[in-house]
Amino acid sequence: MKLGFIIKLSLRNLTRYKLRTFLTAGGVAISIGFISFLTALGYGLQQISTNQIANMQALQMLTIDAGNSKIVSINNDSLSKFSNILGVEKVYPMISVAGSLSLQGSKVDGIVYGKSTDALSIENPKISFGKKYSSDKSKEVIVNTSAAKKLGAANPQGLVGRELDLSMVLRPELLLNNGQPAKTVQATYRVVGILNEGNSPYVYVPLDNLKDLGVQNFSSAQVKATSKDNVDKIKVLIEHMGFKVSTVKDTVDQVNQFFSVFRAVLMGFGFIAVAVSCIGMFNTLTISLIEKTREIGIMKSLGTTKKDVRRIFISEALLIGMVGGITGLIASYLLGEALNASVYALAKSSGNNPVQIFVFPPMLIIVALLLSILISFLTGAYPSRRASRISALNALRYE
């Protein structure tokens, strides 16, 4: 038998019982639609979370500190070791010290970060007023809004250009010889920018300024890898030197791991629907087999082979499964995109960042289609085998 004829025959059989075929394919459509809808939701939420955590550049960064180690410390020597690692693009050392900021009598405790202009441009902080400091030598400071408010500036913008006194406590591990007592240093800076982030007060000053004040070691360092694929390798190498390394990629990996479990749970719900639709399809195919017993008899006595009888039934199962699967997939895609569009409109009107809640990666579409084919073969296997084994004579006698 030609494949075209088999498909034609199955189509005729299916369209003879329109309601039954429609309901069975509808069951498959709902189950495939449901499972792809839920999976798309899983992908969408995952994408939202990972996008929130990191942009592409952040994925290339490693943050290094000495942890509680008494043996290793981040100094010029270790920095040059880091930058000699293959795959490292650049190393940005950073110093953080506790300090107090005073502005005309009002005083607040906060953290002073020493960052080079390079590091600042990589970090790209959200400066709401003013600008970044112009050079690594300048006596300039960027204050965050929290610090600005606590210093009594009703309007943070007004702070730009004013003088700020910093008093910093340099811990022993930052000084050249470990074992020296901690010392307090004072310096005056001019405010050049207001940083619009953070809930606790902190300021940024040029790194070299702090070095001039006697700091020799660094609190931490940021390493930028040439690509995010090198991050894991670099991490291991630096860890072997005795440092503590954390990466944004680690966090993202953890989030991804969580979401793959989350998706699996969602798919589990979907599979319940798939199981129900499988039962429905199996039922339809078995009834169709019983109804067609005499027909199978005449087909066989006219010379139809067992293989062709099996193919007729399998193709019926495949037609129901594929039509149902594709319909379900299209329906879930349209529904997902419609919800995406309304969320987008809502986000735009309320001034938030637009997000995509449902994401349909090509893999999802392929897997959903494969699943509907799998369902067809699974439910079609038994009825088609039974049909092919029916004895022609018994079938012709069947009433």
Binding site: R12, S301, G303, T305, L393
Partner: protein
Amino acid sequence: MAKLNTPTLEVKNLKKSFLVGKEAIPVLKELNLKVGFGEFVVILGPSGCGKSTLLNTILGLEQPTEGQVLVRGKDIYTMDEDGRATFRRQKFGVVYQQPNWVRSLNVIENVAFPLNIAGVSHGEAMKRARNILYLFKFDNYAKYYPMELSGGQQQKLSMCRALVSNPWIIMADEPTGNLDTVTAEDLMYDLKVLNSESKRTIVMVTHNPAYERYATKLVYMEDGKIKRIMQREKPMEVKQEDVVDLTEEVF
């Protein structure tokens, strides 16, 4: 092509018993029968004498307990089920007491069905089916569904279906069983024409002695045995080349 002196059909020491519970009931007991080319064989016998079982065994649908069925010298039970199915659709046309249809197909599609099984292209199958329908004056009914036609028309249609693949042998199992006398005679006349004009070998099973007169060979069966074989006339002196291809262009 097989030699003409090879019997078209030969049944050798055929035995068939059915298992009922643990007991084997013999239905066919040591049957021997030869059918020559171009014969019109009528197998007569009371109900339950095993004549339908004999027919089905010849068709390759009923595995014999012992013995052989040779079609043009080929032992058909050396083939597996699918092999026999393929052989059946090439060599035999079958007409049953009840016309059995593929209900989702219309008249012309049902008639073309044996060709579709054989993998003939759609256009060719339709052309040949249309020719057969024309021959039997059914061309106006091509788009009907078989169940919409009368019993007699349906039986004639099942003859069309049996003939469409241009088989050597027509096997008919009580083809007139459900028909009134006039329609039955009409059908028998068609079979006779097929035999005499188109040179088909016909094997027909019936319990109605009224059809004896159509036969060139009469086989009387009783209780699973052949009681008597009566040769009515000499088998026709025909060559395979004389066989009319019914599916040729007739317009």
